[in-house]
Symmetry: C2
Subunit: 182 residues, 2 copies
Amino acid sequence: MARLIATLGTSPGGIFESYKNLIEGNYQGDNVEKVKIDEVYIIRTSDKAVEFAWKLVKAIFTCCGAKDVRVYDIPLSITDINSRQDFLTFKREVESKINNGDFVDITGGRKSMSVAAAMSARNRNAKIITTVVPQAEYNRVQNLIKQLEPREKEIEMAGEGKCQTIDICQLVSKSALTILLS
Amino acid sequence: MARLIATLGTSPGGIFESYKNLIEGNYQGDNVEKVKIDEVYIIRTSDKAVEFAWKLVKAIFTCCGAKDVRVYDIPLSITDINSRQDFLTFKREVESKINNGDFVDITGGRKSMSVAAAMSARNRNAKIITTVVPQAEYNRVQNLIKQLEPREKEIEMAGEGKCQTIDICQLVSKSALTILLS
């Protein structure tokens, strides 16, 4: 069993797609095989927009066909990376969550978060992945997210398993490509 | 003498500020000191907007007070990172440019480029830096860049030393913070 550790920014973009592509063995890399993932850790700041993105991620994992996987929210006390101290705090937290053989998804969040996650993955002998989405598809999802903003309550309910009132799975991209970077 | 190796995206953002902050010893890190930099390498794709950003960087270095430094443009044949092959091409190129003790600026370009540069820096025993700009300041610079788009000819001339016709140094941010990440 492997774990997926992902940084999260203001868009849920890519984490569920990374998960799905890994378990289906549908990614670019050497020795591609289906990966059994039983835990997903989302590392994020406590910025308001990022908190909303986390609710979307939770709803997507709950409603869009993820099976036998637990998704953990790891909110840090910082709201952004504006100093060396913020960076070191973020890196220490990410690194403490990574085990040998885990998959670390660097797609979400600030660039310095991605770099912190990649450096930590290297230190822990974990694999580094990213998921890319064509620009037009990315724009489609961003527009949908804007429309969903006033419906936070329903999104929270979807995250609790009440998936009927909101079509959260539109946010999942079918053309996302996952790449094993290292 | 150290070199500064920087990834570049569609915005010139941060490279000149990184250079300036390093030579002035004005950055966050352990054992901060003034760094002597005599060469700057800009690694970029051959995307049209990125090419324009390169012209801005060249004009800024020419007109805004950089001294005794040579700036090299390293355009790659790829236009973006859309596959594992693109990533590996980019990483190989970055890594071939980095020497022990260099400073690698991961601020510009796609996240996967930043990660490629950071991983390469680690492999080569180089230092990793980033430069952050407050959001309002970032927006100011982005708006200015939009206004400069029709003036490509003048920007090219500024890059050749004819700095009088265009105030390119407005693009340089005074509130940019450079951080030594590793």
